[in-house]
């Protein structure tokens, strides 16, 4: 069976050790984590965890059931598919020799991202978007030489009814 990428978000009790219960479940059962984000919600007693994972359908079913079984997981939703908005932020440190600077700035402009730091030999670019946009940008910048990259991991929210 084919592995697919799934993005899941869950509301959890904002208590010590809850993140390790979630992460421990993934490592203990051999599930994969591609990215992970955690932060409190508007209710300080509740945090939101977003996890991107790769697995085939039966394993996805197990992951969901196992997560729901954790006492501290209040609510879980699979955000895969068009019904949720997904975004990730990336900081890219790209080499910026004088002869490439104009080209890099043009790309930054087209992708509507920002240069947030300028050095003699580099730019740091901040970009937010869905996976497709980020991959396209990274592919364009790669030939100039990407020195460092920091990705936030994906976030997702379900679209409210229109």
């Amino acid at each position: 069976m084919k592995e697919q990428k799934h993005i899941m978000t869950m509301l959890v009790d904002n208590q010590p050790g809850v993140l390790s219960r979630v992460v421990g479940l993934f490592s203990g059962k051999g599930f994969n984590i591609e990215s992970l984000c955690v932060a409190p919600t508007m209710d300080a007693r509740v945090s939101r965890i977003t996890i991107v994972t790769m697995a085939n359908p039966p394993v996805i079913e197990q992951i969901e059931k196992q997560l729901r079984k954790l006492i501290n997981v209040i609510k879980l939703r699979d955000m895969t598919g068009p019904r949720a908005v997904k975004r990730e932020m990336v900081l890219i440190c790209v080499r910026a020799k004088p002869e490439f600077r104009a080209e890099i700035l043009r790309i930054v402009d087209i992708f509507r991202c920002k240069v947030v730091d300028v050095g003699t030999e580099h730019y740091i670019i901040e970009v937010t978007g869905d996976e497709g946009k980020l991959t396209a940008l990274i592919n364009l910048l790669a030939p100039m030489g990407i020195e460092k990259i920091a990705r936030s991991g994906a976030l997702a929210l379900y679209r409210e009814p229109k």
């Binding site: 009790d13 010590p16 050790g17 390790s20 219960r21 421990g24 203990g28 039966p58 079913e61 197990q62 059931k65 196992q66 729901r68 079984k69 006492i71 501290n72 997981v73 209040i74 609510k75």
Partner: protein, 561 residues
């Protein structure tokens, strides 16, 4: 009313109707012991903390109640891990109360500090570190509630020493509220109706019952269903006793050492109704070949058990007892026709398989372990509570003692922890002081918690230990015999103690049988003695457990004797 943490703990234990605790003291829990002494709660002082948990396990399973143990911080609680892991695998409701260093020292690598919440996270249903006395009562109540509800399991509560001494206002009878925990007890009726239809149309149905039936006290409902639909029943090791084994509809146990007919049934059945099971690999063998021609119905309270190992036609999440009650009512409205006639070809087939008596053995000059278990069954009239160690002894106990009632067979099924049987027997004896409780043991396993003989003697618990002494780690030796060209590496127990003298050294009674004709007299003498007794049966050294399905093979590929 202002109470100390230790006093609050006692109040909660009384509210939870705890009558017995298995424990071992230490610096971090002196205050708790000091208060425990003032209550009516019966404390059983074990000799090793692993045994405290196994004993709580035996108590919980014999009595269908939450078992409780109390241990100190650091080494006290690290010693409990095997017990906790075993209870977790077998879904046994236990609350483990552990002492911890004072809150101010946590994280400092203080003397006897371990991160036990971290260590036990993957082998508890849930666990807690109490960081404020204000949380103590609610946390312990929550622990009991979680242990016994839904799919039961062990819950650990780690209590720092300062919290046991501090005081706070205590309000009795607080209620547990958990917004994120809501086990599904009531099954989906549409799914149950579909099961009713399948029962109506199937020609070769079978029921496969597991430990969940015993945990939810659903044996009566299961028996009713089987009898009125005339469906034969097999059980897993954990399910032994969920359905009377002496009933003509019983197929015996399924799996690696299951009966020939139970395993053969899986290969041609057209409907398998699985209740309270989790399709362990020791049951299914090669999963692709398991019940491959069958529709599978799976009823379980834990959704993660469903479709984890085996694809299922009709999944039902719900409590086994409630689901079976509903199913029985539905069946009453279905016109099933003349079942005896309809099932005749199926029962004829099963009868034919039964004639391959896969449990046959011959008692010659040397004592056969199977013979000892059969004699024990006879002499106790099938009424004893049997616990087991792990290995061949465990399988012979499962195969040759017939269990007609639930809560009478107590074994470390999922974990297979040697050293389980004696402390579990102690726990069961505490639960039922007047019952005959027998640990069917191996000569190697018994040495893993033999020190508990002292516990039994001190607490006046007349448990009986029947050692099937083959001088080997028999089960491992059997694998070496069959799959490693008889290279018996490190499995010969050459240097064993004299178990009779050992029993006497502990202040118990020791008896020995070396010839078949002594078996009955030793057993009946030993069973009569109102004290702990070790009975050492010197049995055939290289006897094997059969039938046997090699690991990973289809369960119909059985090696017979």
């Amino acid at each position: 009313m202002k109470l100390t943490g230790a006093q609050i703990l006692m109040e909660v234990l009384k509210e939870e109707e705890v009558d017995s605790i298995f424990g071992y003291p230490g610096g971090a829990i002196i205050d708790i012991y000091d208060e425990l002494e003032k209550t009516d709660i019966h404390h059983v002082l074990v000799r090793h903390e692993q045994a405290a948990v196994h004993a709580a396990d035996g108590y919980a399973r014999a009595k269908s109640r939450v078992g409780v143990c109390l241990v100190t911080s650091g080494p006290g609680v690290t010693n409990t891990i095997t017990g906790i892991a075993s209870a977790y695998m077998d879904s046994v409701p236990i609350v483990i109360l552990s002492g911890q260093v004072p809150t101010a020292l946590i994280g400092n690598d203080a003397f006897q500090e371990v991160d036990i919440v971290g260590i036990t996270r993957p082998c508890t249903k849930h666990n807690y570190l109490v960081m404020s006395i204000e949380d103590l009562a609610a946390t312990v109540k929550e622990a009991f509630y979680l242990a016994r509800s839904g799919r039961p399991g062990p819950i650990l509560v780690d209590i720092p020493k300062d919290i046991t001494k501090e005081t706070t206002e205590y309000t009795p009878g607080q209620r547990v509220k958990l917004k994120s925990y809501n086990p599904t007890y009531n099954p989906n009726m549409k799914q149950l109706k579909k099961i009713g239809k399948l029962i109506e149309s199937s020609e070769r149905p079978m029921i496969f019952a597991g430990g969940g039936v015993i945990l939810s006290k659903a044996s009566r409902e299961l028996t009713e269903l089987a009898r009125k639909t005339r469906i034969p029943v097999t059980t897993s090791l954990m399910g032994l006793g969920a359905f009377p084994e002496t009933d003509p509809l019983s197929l015996g146990m399924i799996g690696m050492h299951g009966t020939y007919r139970a395993n053969m049934c899986t290969s041609v059945c057209d409907l398998m109704i699985a209740i309270g099971v989790r399709f362990d690999d020791r049951v299914t063998g090669k999963t692709d070949a398991f019940a491959s021609q069958s529709q599978i119905v799976h009823i379980d309270i834990d959704p993660t058990s469903i479709r984890k190992n085996i694809p299922v036609t009709i999944p039902v999440v719900g409590d086994c007892k409630i689901s079976l009650e509903h199913l029985n009512q539905l069946i009453d409205q279905v016109e099933l026709g003349n079942l005896d006639q309809k099932r005749k070809p199926w029962f004829d087939q099963i009868e034919e398989w039964k004639s391959t008596n896969s449990l046959a053995y011959e008692q010659k000059e040397v004592i056969k372990p199977q013979f000892v278990v059969e004699k024990l069954y006879e002499l106790t009239k099938g009424q004893a509570i049997i616990t087991t160690e792990v290995g061949q002894n465990q399988m012979w106990a499962a195969q040759y003692y017939q269990f007609d009632r639930p809560n009478h067979f107590i074994t470390s099924g999922g974990l297979g922890a040697m050293g389980f049987g004696l402390p579990a027997a102690i726990g069961a004896q505490v639960a039922f002081p007047d019952a005959t409780v027998v640990d069917i043991a191996g000569d190697s396993s018994i040495q893993m918690n033999i020190q508990e003989m002292a516990t039994a003697v001190q607490s006046g618990l007349p448990v009986k230990v029947v050692i099937l002494n083959n001088g080997y780690m028999g089960m491992v030796r059997q694998w070496q015999e069959l799959f490693y060209d008889k290279r018996y590496v490190s499995t010969c127990m050459d240097c064993a103690p004299d178990f009779v003298k050992l029993a006497e050294a502990y202040g118990a009674v020791g008896l020995r049988a070396t010839k078949p004709e002594e078996v009955e007299s030793v057993l009946s003498e030993g069973l009569k003695i109102p004290k702990p007794v070790i009975m050492d049966f010197v049995v055939e050294k290289e006897e094997g457990v059969y039938p046997m399905v090699p690991a990973g093979a289809a369960i119909t590929d059985m090696l017979l004797v």
